[in-house]
């Protein structure tokens, strides 16, 4: 057990450290596609460091709830990462039904964020709050359903079991379609849930068209830093989940000589472990690149069309479910 604990912990720390890299990658892809040089890859790290040194400004109307979403977002993100495996080994914590907790963590962060937006008393932030509440109400059952059919297919109740269950994607073509469709459905959910084009535009300067950005208009200083970090974590979690689905490389796939008689790692095992982690990392970065490509190639939808993304995601998830039903 202890032999597994350390790599899992490393995975968690790696996730926490690398999460702010993803928005940088997306921005860099968008800039390249637009023929520009773009911001540095580590821009969000610089921003976070700068914001942590600033004094926050609070609106007169706000109460203590205004200060909650940042800490709540970070706490729920870390909790979600506790149950989400990184690489070949299981997650730090795993218990039956932990995939439901993942949705619960998102709900916690969202609850606090919507309340904080309403706490400012601003008309625009109220608008953002109602959109966020609406779209997340549509996204939540679909997200849960995607995880349910994954758990159904794998016959496991834990995220670690589902993602590192030892089934290889190329074992059978039908399964391969299932994983692809599931990943596609989750990717479609990733876009609106992380306020990306085509549902929301993170870079717009028109408050009327924003969802996530308009909700944090009044946040500043360390509060904003925590919020930015929390949303980067959320993007990371989604990407890691999709990567885990596409690369279900389980502990069974580690080569036979990974452990010695005492159950601790051999050199061969460690290198296999590193390879699996590196593969996952690469997949996460690829998903970020894909998000960047979607953002460069698509226009933002009209607000009334955003629910169509969910319909499509739901339809694909249903097809995935039908493909593994029997």
């Amino acid at each position: 057990m202890s032999a597994h604990l350390l790599p899992s912990l490393c995975g968690l720390l790696l996730s926490l450290a690398l999460a702010p890299l993803l928005p940088g990658v997306i921005n860099r892809v968008k800039a390249k596609m637009g023929g520009r040089q773009g911001r540095p890859l580590l821009q969000l790290y610089f921003d976070l460091a700068k914001l942590m040194r600033k004094a926050p400004v609070y609106p007169y109307a706000s109460s203590a709830f205004f200060r909650l979403p940042g800490p709540a977002g970070v706490a729920s993100g870390i909790t979600a990462l506790l149950v989400l495996p990184f690489g070949a080994l299981g997650a730090l914590v795993s218990f039956p039904g932990d995939f439901l907790l993942l949705a619960g963590c998102f709900a916690l962060a969202r609850f606090c964020l919507i309340l904080a937006a309403l706490d400012t008393g601003s008309a625009f932030e109220g608008m953002g709050a109602t959109r966020e509440a609406l779209f997340s109400a549509l996204a939540e059952p679909l997200f849960l359903f995607c995880l349910l059919i994954l758990s159904y297919h794998m016959q496991r109740f834990t995220l670690s079991g589902m993602l590192t269950g030892g089934l290889t994607p190329l074992a059978s073509h039908a399964d391969w379609v299932f994983y692809l469709m599931l990943a596609c459905s989750l990717f479609l959910l990733l876009l609106p849930e992380n306020s990306r084009i085509p549902a929301d535009d993170p870079n717009t300067h028109l408050e009327l068209t924003m969802i996530h950005e308009v909700m944090i208009l009044d946040h500043s200083g360390p509060d904003l830093a925590l919020l930015e970090y929390a949303s980067a974590l959320k993007l990371w979690i989604f990407s890691l989940l999709i990567a885990g689905i596409l690369l279900p490389a389980g502990i069974e796939r580690l080569p036979a000589g990974s452990f010695d008689a005492a159950g601790s790692w051999t050199a061969q095992g460690i290198s296999a472990l590193f390879a699996s982690m590196g593969l996952n990392l690469l997949a996460v970065l690829c998903i970020a690149v894909l998000v960047g490509l979607v953002e460069s190639l698509m226009a933002r939808f009209r607000m009334e069309r955003v629910p169509q993304i969910f319909t499509l995601a739901g339809a694909i998830a249903c097809l995935a479910a039908l493909s593994v039903w029997s």
């Binding site: 379609v177 629910p307 097809l319 039908l322």
Partner: protein, 228 residues
């Protein structure tokens, strides 16, 4: 379904899983067609579907691949993947740009209805029992769902061009239903249907342009005024 899989493997050049992947892709493209708002995207999807379907006889056919089969497959591929999309594209280009119109049945609802159609056809397929040709039970549900999606497109869309997409998709479904039987002679029947549709597409392509000249719109609502 292992017995079906075995029988399929024996009958066709491709194993059952590979066929399922292809059929899954067709169903997904149906859903995307139902969800698509822009006609240019729909045309691309139809071309993609046509390409997959055009190659299907070659993939399904077991045994020796003779010259006649290759010729027929090439013909299908040419018509479905190249000719029809090109006609559609030409018609589309000729029309002046218009904003997307609101369909009779919303995009979300039509996707859900298409999904419902797929589930229904799966259910129908499961009630069908064993068929003489095991490929048929594999093909039945996707084919039926494609026909259903085509019908939905015809019923739900407002623009004449989009309705034409519906006819094409429906034809794809009928074709798909015919593929398992298309060992020898049935393929000629299929070809005749295809030619019919192609002529229809040409006629529609011309008619659509004239309709636009007459009504200054492609809304089929306007056709109601010529009912007498």
């Amino acid at each position: 379904m292992p017995d079906i899989a075995l029988a399929t493997a024996a009958l066709s050049g491709l194993n059952a899983d590979g066929l399922q992947v292809i059929l899954g892709l067709i169903v997904i493209s149906d859903m995307c067609l139902l969800a698509a708002e822009r006609q240019r995207f729909s045309i691309r999807l139809i071309a993609l579907q046509g390409a997959i379907l055009g190659l299907l006889p070659l993939l399904v056919h077991s045994g020796e691949k003779d010259a006649r089969l290759i010729a027929i497959t090439a013909l299908f591929f040419l018509i479905k993947a190249a000719l029809l999309p090109l006609v559609l594209r030409r018609t589309y280009k000729k029309l002046p740009p218009q904003p997307p119109s609101r369909p009779y049945l919303g995009h979300s609802l039509s996707v859900l209805a298409g999904l419902g159609g797929f589930v229904f056809s799966l259910w129908l397929g499961s009630r069908l029992g064993d068929t003489a040709n095991p490929l048929f039970s594999l093909f039945f549900a996707p084919a039926f769902a494609t026909i259903f999606a085509g019908l939905l497109l015809i019923v739900a869309r407002r623009r004449a061009l989009s309705q034409m997409f519906g006819y094409l998709v429906m034809e794809n479904g009928i074709y798909l239903l015919g593929v398992p039987m298309a060992q020898h002679d049935a393929i000629w029947l299929e070809l005749s249907v295809l030619l019919d549709i192609m002529v229809a597409a040409f006629v529609m392509g011309i008619a659509v342009r004239h309709i636009h000249l007459a009504f200054h719109s492609m809304d089929v609502d306007h056709f109601a005024c010529i009912k007498d």
